[in-house]
């Protein structure tokens, strides 16, 4: 409200009361209202000041966005952790034979340099060790001239 009286002229046309007593009533009522507002007892005035400061302090107080987000974030983290804990035991459960075979094959490439595990290797391999030895020696001798 910049100047409340500015718009009064236009208001008069529609809101005007021709009765002269209206003028008296309005002026008198307003004067009494203003006087009553000025003559507020000190205790009430003090409370009003305190109420105003409280309202303004509430606005000045830093918005606790972090505190507001802590609870949902913590809840989400707890749920995620719980799901992880549930999921991990499932992933370590005995896998299917097919998967196990695949993983064995993959690990075989890596462990080529290691001596074969007697328990995991095919028993027929040990039965034909001489043949495989001869095959390896033959292949080595055949490949040498070719490499050169």
């Amino acid at each position: 409200m910049t100047t409340p009286g500015n718009n009064k002229t236009s208001d008069n046309q529609a809101g005007a009361q021709a009765d002269p007593r209206d003028e008296l009533i309005a002026r008198r009522a307003r004067a009494l209202y203003r006087e009553a507002s000025l003559r507020i007892d000190p205790a009430t005035a003090g409370r009003l000041r305190a109420v105003r400061r409280q309202a303004l302090d509430a606005a000045k107080a830093p918005q606790r966005h972090t505190a507001r987000w802590l609870v949902p974030t913590g809840a989400f983290a707890a749920i995620a952790f719980a799901m992880l804990m549930v999921w991990q035991p499932l992933s370590h459960s005995p896998s299917t034979p097919a998967n196990h075979a695949i993983s064995t094959d993959q690990s075989a490439d890596v462990d080529n340099d290691l001596p074969p595990d007697a328990e995991k290797t095919d028993p027929s391999l040990y039965q034909n060790l001489d043949f495989y030895g001869w095959l390896a020696a033959n292949n080595a001798s055949n490949n040498q001239p070719a490499n050169r």
């Binding site: 529609a14 307003r30 209202y33």
Partner: protein, 195 residues
């Protein structure tokens, strides 16, 4: 200009305090006492009036402090008006509940007063020099229907213009003028012997 609004225009233009302050603190400091009196006139209870003013201040600061200063007055008075209506409704519901529970009548069947906490604080009449006139006005305003009372208080007592009064009341400017006209008509009858 022999109209009420014309007379008030002069008053308002002379009243330098009507300029809206630039800061919210200064604005609230300017209106807090009048807001209290307005709430008190409506609610007839000082503690309820204080609660209404406090709530209006908090809501204005919380939700509308970023608004231009020129918009604060209609926003503030609108918030206060709604808060007053809320408190009046709550009081009415409380009275109904007390009536259902048998608190509305005493043992002899006589009507008990509507339950309201006692207001023992110093009223405006204790300090106001022209106390009887104020009491007459308060009683006459109390007799007005809700919307007429709001229009009279915001437009005539607080000095908002029609557009601001309409914003505060949540109605059209035409409705404000109608309510105000009827309010003045009632007050003429109520304050026949007012001096």
């Amino acid at each position: 200009m022999s109209t009420v609004a014309g007379t008030l225009e002069t008053d308002l233009l002379l009243d330098s305090a009507r300029e809206t302050p630039a800061t919210l603190d200064a604005f609230l400091a300017q209106v807090e006492r009048r807001a209290f009196r307005m709430a008190e006139l409506n609610l007839r209870h000082r503690e309820d009036a204080m609660d209404a003013v406090q709530d209006a201040m908090l809501r204005l600061v919380k939700h509308y402090r970023e608004k231009p200063a020129a918009e604060w007055p209609p926003l503030f008075w609108g918030i206060l008006r709604r808060r007053i209506v809320d408190l009046q409704r709550r009081r009415k519901v409380r009275s109904i509940v007390v009536g259902w529970l048998g608190g509305g009548k005493d043992d002899e069947g006589s009507e008990m007063p509507v339950w309201e906490p006692a207001d023992r604080g110093p009223g405006p009449l204790d300090r106001l020099h022209d106390s009887q006139s104020y009491a007459d006005m308060a009683e006459a305003v109390k007799q007005l229907p809700q919307r007429q009372r709001e229009a009279f208080m915001l437009r005539m007592l607080e000095g908002l213009d029609v557009a601001e009064t309409a914003r505060s009341m949540g109605c059209s400017e035409g409705s404000v003028k109608t309510h105000l006209s009827r309010a003045m008509h009632h007050l003429r009858g109520q304050l026949e012997d007012w001096r």
